[in-house]
């Protein structure tokens, strides 16, 4: 084996590695574009989502602490962003139609397992 063969092996190897990885870059870009296009073409139906956000705080029994409007707006913004992110992942377009604040006692009427509890149960049942 002489140096010319060795050098040609090195050059060939480098060229082929870069070529393959460039082809992979191109394939990924194309795949990403095709998947993005197919998602836009479908126009999924709007699914209305109701979020209960109703203010029922009693006025006489406890002093009313006026929360600034920006707090509620920030909460709404965060929930809206989370729903949109979920919708994108699921391939659906979601629209918020109503916002009502739920009273804490509403949650107590229907006690349910915590999210961690549910995760643990589904893990065991698999």
């Amino acid at each position: 084996m002489d140096w010319s063969f060795v050098l040609s092996t090195v050059v060939t190897g480098l060229v082929v590695v870069f070529l393959i990885l460039l082809l992979l870059i191109g394939s990924l870009a194309l795949t990403g574009k095709l998947l993005a296009d197919s998602k836009n073409k479908k126009k999924p139906a709007l699914m209305p989502v109701k979020i209960s956000f109703k203010n029922n705080l009693p006025v006489k029994s406890a002093p009313v602490i006026e929360k600034p409007r920006t707090d509620e707006k920030q909460v709404i913004a965060v929930i809206t962003a989370a729903i949109q992110a979920y919708g994108e992942e699921a391939g659906k377009k979601l629209k918020i139609t109503d916002i009502k604040k739920r009273e804490p006692r509403d949650l107590q009427r229907a006690p349910c397992r915590s999210v961690w509890g549910n995760a643990g149960v589904s893990e065991s049942m698999r």
Binding site: V10, V16, L35
Partner: protein, 390 residues
């Protein structure tokens, strides 16, 4: 009484104390040092400890747990191995037939997130650039007198990828498997020591402080298409690399599909652990005194270190090119993560980047070149196998 004396004498004559040599004692001492490094210093213990144990077992005189002669011919006589071989001979079949490295790569695929790479495909180029260090070391090894097949096996140490190194060395230069595997895993553990000086030498503080844009969201469909595309493309161009790349990608497909969680968990844990034990011990068993204690082993150790340094340097230099010609948006440090040492290389990049700018988070950006290097090093191994004339 005489029978008793004769029996004791017979046992003594068969013992390691009579049949041992100085070279085997030295190998036992080296294996103990490796065990210390694995346990006390935590140098890649998952593989270094089984390798060190295999080395210890194979060098105890008279035990004959591993017989290299069974595997030295053109064809392996498996009947002889099963009838006359020891435990390590039988475990070595998994190495010889390429089964163990491929199963480990399947497990690696199940554990790897290719999201950062899909989100920033230019990371592929950094992974490719770092592989240039392998080719440069290949030239250096040939210049030092190693034949092509051995030069390729030594050079692949620079990939910082254990299964790939073992896969290629088993095919090209199986007699060098012991020292090459030990060098590869030792240097992988030393990445936090080897890489930073090279990274700092080749970059300025301003370059190290570059903040990169947040990576885009990668959809599930992209994550599912990615392994299929890579397997088909690489398989068609370099069929010899299909074993490694295919197993890596299908492990990843299992993970990303989300419908075979039980299989993924088994591959990530039980399967990977069992194979690591068997692979490590079998590889360590090849490090017998006559194979290991010679001048070539020192050269392998030196060339292995050179390969690591060159791979890091090539990756960083290409990162600098991307920084200069890409609008100064790429931090050159992520090029150093173009070695397959997942996730240590990315962590080192993060650490050095934070030294220059404490608020800079490069970890996920560095993961792109690291996972790209896993694919790149498998491709390089396939090319080297194809071109090295064996």
């Amino acid at each position: 009484m005489q029978v008793f004396t004769e029996s004791i004498k017979e046992l003594w004559e068969k013992s390691g104390f009579v049949n041992g040599s100085l070279l085997e004692l030295i190998m036992l001492a080296i294996s103990l040092v490796l065990i210390y490094l694995a346990i006390a210093k935590k140098y890649e213990p998952l593989l270094l400890l089984p390798i060190a144990v295999g080395m210890l077992l194979t060098n105890i005189p008279g035990a004959n747990m591993f017989n290299p002669a069974f595997f030295s011919g053109e064809e392996v006589n498996f009947a002889q191995v099963f009838n006359q071989g020891g435990l390590l001979d039988i475990l070595y079949i998994g190495v010889k037939l390429q089964i163990f490295p491929l199963l480990i790569f399947f497990g690696v695929g199940c554990m790897t997130d290719f999201g950062p790479l899909i989100a920033n495909p230019s990371s592929f180029l950094l992974g490719a650039a770092a592989q240039a260090g392998i080719f440069l070391t290949f030239l250096g090894a040939f210049a030092l007198g190693f034949p092509l097949n051995e030069s390729a096996s030594i050079a692949i140490i620079g990939s910082a990828d254990g299964p790939t190194t073992i896969w290629l060395t088993t095919r090209l230069a199986p007699e060098m498997l012991g020292p090459i595997a030990i060098a590869a895993y030792s240097y992988m553990a030393l990445i936090p020591v080897i890489q930073p000086p090279v990274m700092k030498l080749l970059t300025t503080k301003k370059e190290r402080a570059v903040r990169m844009a947040q990576l885009r969201f990668v959809s599930k469909k992209e994550r599912i298409f990615f392994p299929i595309i890579v397997t088909v493309l690489v398989g068609f161009i370099i069929p010899d690399a299909l074993g490694l790349v295919g197993m890596l990608m299908f492990g990843n497909l299992f993970k990303e599909s989300g419908v075979v969680d039980r299989l993924v968990k088994t591959s990530q844990n039980e399967l990977a652990n069992i194979v690591i034990i068997m692979l490590g011990m079998a590889v360590g068993a090849t490090a017998k005194a006559e194979n290991f204690l010679n001048g070539r082993t020192l050269m392998i150790i030196g060339l292995g270190l050179t390969a690591f340094i060159l791979s890091t340097a090539c990756g960083v230099l290409f990162g600098k090119l991307m920084y200069l010609f890409g609008g100064k948006k790429t931090n050159p440090l992520i090029g150093s993560a173009g070695v397959s040492a997942l996730p240590m290389a990315a962590r080192v990049t993060q650490k050095i980047g934070q030294e220059a700018d404490p608020g800079n988070y490069l970890l996920m950006h560095a993961m792109g070149p690291t996972v790209s290097a896993i694919i790149g090093s498998a491709v390089v191994a396939g090319i080297m196998f194809s071109l090295s004339g064996v």
